[in-house]
């Protein structure tokens, strides 16, 4: 039996690879058709449309909320109609930031950088999804079940006994199980907002210690907005390369060598995904992955990284609690190796980074799969 068509089942149509169109109707009954730069999947019952200019579409849905959105599958060319109703506009917050970054990637891909600027995320309820037209083309094959892959990763992570091994296992699992070959974890300094690279895989230089500020590129935006940020096409607006190079130059003059650690990263990066690592509402860090392949990370990969980051955040918070408990015990002089980062602002993360650097140098002599350079 063919499974029913749902918004979830056609998420691939909402990646922005093929432009969508929306039909609306004014209060006096005049129809209107418009192209939409970005139709964003919010949840199984909602989408958000990018609001860039005060358009007829926007005027119409304020008068009459009914809309019909026509989307195209990027692999098969099949077309689907969404019967939708406008609910509200969000001009800040996680959804807005997520769409803003994605739109920048779409604009770059379409040669429209500077023209596409997000003013709001128009949220619509989706009442039905119908297939208009089916083609003979087959959808791109998926390599394996995401659930099975997740299970494998979680089983590996369960064996980690401290933060360092937890993060190492996370990145190794992404490489081995999901074939994500370029990834890193950045952790937040407890006393500040800046993020520092503490572990990476797949880069010529590990970049451990390299800094990202909140709001900077996809990583800083994911941290600031506490939301996953994923772009399928390279965009200078959300790139980290240029800003990082400028920072390195600036810090090279004003700061010591510790601060001049170059950010790792692929110079030809096309696809990027950054997922916040949270303990409750507290930001611990960001998991980042990238690829030179366009559209490498889809909704499924984003889901997987969100689940893994959530697991790592929970375990890291538990390790942190253990640390705090141990520190209170008489005769205990200080945190263990693999320390966490909040009990003594600044010191635990610095210790962690020093520990990671020592390990890195040690690992270099052990035939590690991803050889790294000594950063300091």
């Amino acid at each position: 039996m063919t499974p029913p068509i749902t918004l979830h089942s056609i998420r691939a149509c909402l990646e922005g690879a093929v432009p969508a169109v929306v039909a609306t109707c004014s209060g006096d009954g005049t129809p209107n058709v418009s192209y939409i730069s970005e139709v964003h999947y919010v949840d199984p019952g909602h989408v958000a449309l990018s609001y860039q200019f005060f358009s007829k579409t926007r005027q119409n849905v304020l008068e009459n909320p009914r809309a019909t959105v026509l989307v195209i599958h990027p692999d098969t060319g099949a077309q689907y109609k969404l019967a939708a109703a406008y609910l509200r506009t969000e001009d800040s917050g996680p959804l807005f930031e997520c769409m803003k970054a994605k739109l920048a990637g779409i604009a770059s891909h379409a040669g429209m950088t500077g023209v596409f600027r997000l003013r709001g995320a128009d949220v619509y309820r989706v009442d039905s999804v119908t297939e208009v037209y089916r083609t003979a083309l087959a959808p791109a094959a998926t390599s394996a079940s995401s659930l099975a892959q997740l299970r494998c990763c979680i089983e590996r992570l369960s064996a980690a006994s401290d933060l360092a091994s937890l993060l190492d296992t996370l990145l190794d699992s992404l490489r081995d199980v999901f074939d994500i070959r370029h990834s890193m974890v950045l952790m937040r300094e407890p006393a500040g907002e800046a993020l520092h690279t503490v572990a990476s895989r797949g880069y010529t230089a590990s970049g451990v210690g390299a800094e990202i500020r909140p709001g900077e590129g996809v990583i800083g935006t994911a941290a600031l907005a506490r939301t996953p940020i994923r772009i399928a096409h390279a965009t200078s607006e959300f790139g980290y390369g240029r800003a990082m190079r400028e920072d390195a130059a600036r810090f090279g003059i004003t700061a010591g060598i510790e601060d001049a650690i170059p950010f790792p990263g692929l110079p030809e990066s096309q696809s990027q995904v950054a997922v916040p690592i949270l303990a409750g509402e507290r930001l611990l860090g960001v998991l980042f992955a990238e690829s030179t392949e366009t559209g490498r990370f889809g909704y499924d990969e984003e889901d997987a990284l969100v689940v893994l980051a959530s697991y790592v955040g929970t375990v890291a918070a538990m390790l942190e609690e253990d640390e705090a408990t141990d520190a209170e015990k008489p005769g205990r002089s200080g945190p263990r190796t693999g320390a966490t980062w909040s009990a003594d602002p600044g010191a635990p993360l610095r210790r962690e980074r020093q520990h990671l650097r020592r390990r890195r140098i040690h690992d270099q002599g052990c035939g590690r799969r991803d050889p790294v350079e000594a950063a300091v």
Partner: protein, 164 residues
């Protein structure tokens, strides 16, 4: 372009050529409950006096859109060239289903080739572009008199009436 809304407009020669070229054609309508509907088209032709436009659609995909048009005559059609983003929208209030001619089938076939070629310029595979457009073996035609025309190329000028 005559800008008086509600009266018959005349497309200029440039816009008439543009909408009959390598453009995506998207046809919108609405039902009695003011619920809008939309379908992708397969080309168009402009009348000799450039005041009426006939858009071609694949009948099997267009059922509810055509029902709406037959019921109330209201139509909105967007024409957009994928490789340049140049876009205009035309509207009418006297739209009706008209007979598909042999010439129309030729127009749809030429539109398919031109549109696929334009998509190739921006990186879409021929196989994919042809699949999206489809061969459209069963055409339907909708003819309407222009009552309004709008610039819709992405940017701050989108939504403004077409200048003469």
């Amino acid at each position: 372009m005559d800008q008086s809304q509600g009266k018959a407009l005349q497309l200029d020669v440039d816009h008439a050529a543009f909408i009959q070229g390598a453009v995506s054609v998207v046809v919108g309508s609405r039902n009695t409950q003011h619920v809008p509907d939309v379908v992708r088209g397969c080309g168009c032709r402009v009348s000799r006096d450039r005041r009426r436009v006939t858009v071609l659609v694949e009948a099997a995909r267009s059922g509810s859109v055509l029902e709406n048009i037959a019921a109330n005559g209201l139509v909105a059609v967007v024409f957009s060239q994928p490789s340049t983003h140049r876009t205009i929208q035309l509207k009418g209030s006297d739209a009706r289903l008209t007979r598909v001619t042999g010439a129309d089938r030729g127009i749809a076939q030429r539109h398919l080739l031109a549109w696929v070629q334009d998509l190739r310029l921006i990186g879409y595979a021929t196989e994919f572009a042809r699949a999206v457009r489809g061969e459209a073996p069963d055409l339907a035609a909708v003819t309407f008199t222009l009552t309004s025309a709008f610039q819709q190329t992405p940017g701050p000028a989108a939504g403004k009436r077409l200048a003469q």
